[in-house]
């Protein structure tokens, strides 16, 4: 939170500072749209001020200032980011950008007038993946795992914690640490700033930041000799080929994929061959549940043939 505040305009800062303690902890997104009132997403829902104060309207000038501050008053350092549409700032928080796009021969050149900002607060949940460990670790090795879930169900949070557990090891369960490689195309897992991870990922983690997954995986296998490789949001054709390569090279892979159910995913042409070849030993399906005011996460674990092993429901956040 403190890392975010200096970027924001005064009026937004005031609102954030006066949020109730409980809401402040569960704050997920800060959305600023030019000439529209500020929007806060708390625990998955739009936050409504309790005392009928109105949200400040985000001005055009403030949008300019915000972008300048994000770029450290040097927009030219943001060229790559303006092409991808998001920036990672110290602390691992991600700021999604949209607005007017400049194109060249039908391809996105970069964003020009950035008018919409979505600040996603990164929250590392240390220990989120602990309940999964007994299912994912067997006979001295980690099993190839695919995490499945819709957006905002906590896939990446889970994956990040798995990466941390692998590279730190769990001495009390006699699980030793492993060399871990993260291919972090969206800078979401490690939240790197200038190549230095901002999240706690253990001592034995190498990160390839902002690198296309397929190429990154190959680079990692060739150069960094990982024992476990962690990748986010697989789905492309190239990814599948690289995953085959990695899994056959004896590297354990932990990956995530977008999807609601296992069945739905197994119909996706790029993922089907992976499932058919039974390359993954475990599938973890995450879904989000609302229990009277609290959001929780439901976890279902399937074995390599897609048979249900267990379903646990836990409340976190």
């Amino acid at each position: 939170m403190d890392q975010i505040l200096p970027y924001l305009p005064e009026s937004v800062q005031q609102i954030l500072l006066h949020l109730p303690e409980k809401d402040q902890q569960m704050l997920e997104e800060i959305r600023c749209r030019t000439e529209r009132p500020l929007e806060l997403i708390v625990a998955g829902q739009k936050w409504v001020p309790t005392d009928h104060t109105t949200m400040p309207v985000f001005q055009k000038e403030q949008a300019k200032q915000l972008l300048q501050k994000i770029g450290n008053y040097s927009i030219y350092t943001l060229e790559e980011e303006l092409k991808r549409g998001y920036v990672t700032i110290p602390g691992g928080h991600r700021i999604g950008l949209s607005g007017r796009v400049l194109t060249e021969q039908g391809r996105v050149l970069r964003l020009r007038d950035v008018t919409f900002f979505n600040i996603r607060l990164a929250k590392q949940k240390i220990g989120a993946a602990l309940p999964l460990v007994p299912y994912l670790y067997n006979r001295q090795r980690w099993l190839n795992t695919l995490l499945i879930g819709a957006p905002q169900t906590g896939k990446t949070t889970m994956l990040r914690d798995i990466a941390r557990l692998i590279s730190e090891g769990i001495p009390e369960r006699y699980i030793s640490s492993r060399k871990t490689a993260i291919v972090d195309e969206r800078s979401e897992i490690a939240g790197c700033v200038e190549g230095v991870p901002q999240n706690r990922l253990g001592m034995r983690t190498d990160v390839m930041d902002a690198c296309p997954k397929a190429e990154g995986m190959m680079m990692m296998i060739r150069s960094m000799s990982p024992e476990v490789m962690v990748v986010d949001e697989i789905g492309g054709k190239d990814d599948t080929a690289a995953l085959f390569e990695a899994l056959n090279a004896g590297v354990t892979v932990m990956a995530t994929a977008h999807g609601f159910t296992f069945e739905q995913l197994s119909h996706r042409p790029s993922i089907k061959p992976l499932i058919d070849a039974q390359l993954f030993d475990r599938y973890v399906i995450l879904s989000r549940r609302h229990y009277s005011n609290k959001t929780g996460c439901r976890i279902i674990i399937l074995d390599q043939l897609g048979r249900k092993m267990t379903a646990t429901e836990g409340i976190w956040q």
């Binding site: 200032q65 300048q68 450290n72 008053y73 040097s74 927009i75 030219y76 350092t77 060229e79």
Partner: protein, 170 residues
């Protein structure tokens, strides 16, 4: 006694002449420094993509004396006072200019350049720098001409007025 008095007068007026002449001598040199600073900025932006605050620190170490102070001021305004780049730039200019022999036109150019710094992509930054550079070049030739015309003139005027006063008082 008379001799000492007249020597003092001569010395003082020559010194004034030299000081005035120095204004004309330093101006082109300082403009040239600005040009080389802008060229460094260009290289840092286009090839290094170095953010402005880092660049100001680097330049305050690399560049020679008078202009170095400007980048120190800029760093100070950015780091300590947490100003926006644009206001830090113009404040630093306002504080820096009286310390130099440079005049209004080049100040305007540098101020104008500061308002565009960091607001665009590298390609456009380069254009702005080129524009500022060519403006500065023009000012420099101007300054050199007036240096040629005035530097010697002021120096000898200083000396000669000294002599004139001495002759008048004797």
């Amino acid at each position: 006694m008379k001799l000492i008095g007249s020597l003092i007068i001569l010395f003082a007026s020559t010194a004034i002449g030299i000081l005035l002449a120095r204004q004309y001598r330093d101006r082109p040199r300082e403009i040239r420094q600005w040009r080389s600073a802008l060229q460094s900025i260009e290289a840092e932006i286009v090839y290094g993509r170095v953010p402005v605050d880092q660049m100001a620190v680097d330049l305050s170490k690399q560049l020679p004396a008078p202009i170095k102070t400007f980048f120190q001021l800029l760093t100070q305004h950015l780091k300590r006072d947490k100003q926006t780049l644009q206001s830090a730039w113009s404040d630093s200019i306002e504080r820096f200019w009286p310390m130099t022999s440079m005049k209004r036109p080049e100040k305007e150019i540098v101020l104008q350049f500061g308002s565009t710094l960091g607001t665009e992509d590298a390609e456009n930054q380069k254009k702005h720098i080129q524009l500022a550079l060519s403006h500065l070049e023009r000012e420099e030739t101007d300054a050199r001409q007036s240096q040629k015309a005035n530097e010697k003139l002021f120096r000898s005027i200083g000396f000669l007025t000294g002599i004139l006063f001495i002759l008048l008082f004797i």
